[in-house]
Symmetry: C2
């Protein structure tokens, strides 16, 4: 039904630009179906990418003061809003997974970005593509801070959920630290919090040494 | 488990401010359970508030150019991120509902805002409270544009879903226009799009006259 209506009047009477914008917005509805490994805190189900993206933006607002002075929180929030959109096509890849699926993650996500951001008018496509690449490459202060929050939110969901995916998939504290160490470069106070929670998770048996 | 860990070391060794920030972030997880009336486009289930909030932010990014020059899109996005948090306590109120539940919506939402934003340190509490009140009162250009997107997203979910909640609850085009008319004041191009889709929805029998 959705696709049919896009090809009929009155939609076809809208500017090409507005038709593309609407088609992209409708496509994004699918992110609500992309399931992650992390359980919600009440353990009723796993979280999806749309909810996760929203929650990360709220971490950005609440922890903004812990970012360096060169971080632009409004840009961080834009990055976090779009960072998982590629997973509509590429699916969620569990961070500790080693498999053929994980090995070709970059290729799958690049193809997804081409298709999905490609639904937009060129200027918006380029803007979101560049923002997504910046996030993925983690070279700028904004991207490092955004990526730190993308690690800290599932850490909360695990720590406050009897170990969550750490316990379920037998993850070790060395693996977690390895994936999170770059946080030290984005925010010393957040890194100290993360180290403390990891150490305590080991003590409580949520996380292997 | 969540509440217990907040009351034990090492959490109790964190600054009071960080403890409050973490508690607020954990509380927000509940927004993923607040269900709205709108169905997702694949009709598999209704949408929740966290997903809805994320989707609205994406409309803000994509339709930013249709806002007036006095609109600050970064502020609009912050407003949209927090606008439904009160529904953790107050629940979602269907926009066309007339009931005792709908009648005391303001009171319920004010109490919810006091409790939930009140989990935060005072400065953050005041910032989010003021942003939420501004959204609710729809008097500023930012709030009018944010509220417009909050109407347009469910309109898309209805129009591209065989009428969705309009058809299910027997809503009339006059009711829809009445709730959406203020969009004309926020963005003339968005209002023209909305009027066109409403008229076509009537033609297609998705919406009563």
């Amino acid at each position: 039904m959705t696709q049919e209506l896009l090809l009929q009047p009155p939609l076809t009477s809208f500017s090409a630009r507005m038709q593309q914008q609407i088609q992209f917005i409708l496509e994004l509805d699918k992110l609500k179906h992309v399931m992650r490994r992390s359980m919600l805190l009440d353990q009723s189900r796993t979280e999806n990418d749309a909810e996760h993206s929203w929650h990360l933006c709220m971490l950005a607002i609440v922890f903004a003061e812990l970012a360096g002075p060169d971080v632009n929180i409004a840009r961080v929030i834009r990055m976090l809003l779009i960072h998982d959109i590629v997973e509509i096509d590429a699916g969620d890849t569990f961070i500790y997974e080693e498999s053929p699926h994980a090995a070709n993650q970059n290729m799958r996500e690049n193809l997804a970005a081409q298709r999905i951001f490609g639904l937009l008018p060129d200027d918006l496509r380029d803007e979101l593509w560049n923002l997504w690449r910046e996030f993925e490459e983690k070279n700028t202060p904004d991207a490092k801070f955004a990526a730190s929050l993308d690690r800290i939110q599932p850490l909360f969901l695990n720590y406050f959920n009897q170990g969550g995916t750490w316990a379920r998939y037998g993850v070790s504290s060395a693996q977690v630290k390895d994936k999170q160490r770059f946080i030290a470069d984005a925010s010393q106070p957040l890194w100290e919090m993360v180290e403390t929670l990891i150490a305590d998770a080991v003590e409580r048996g949520m996380l292997k040494t």
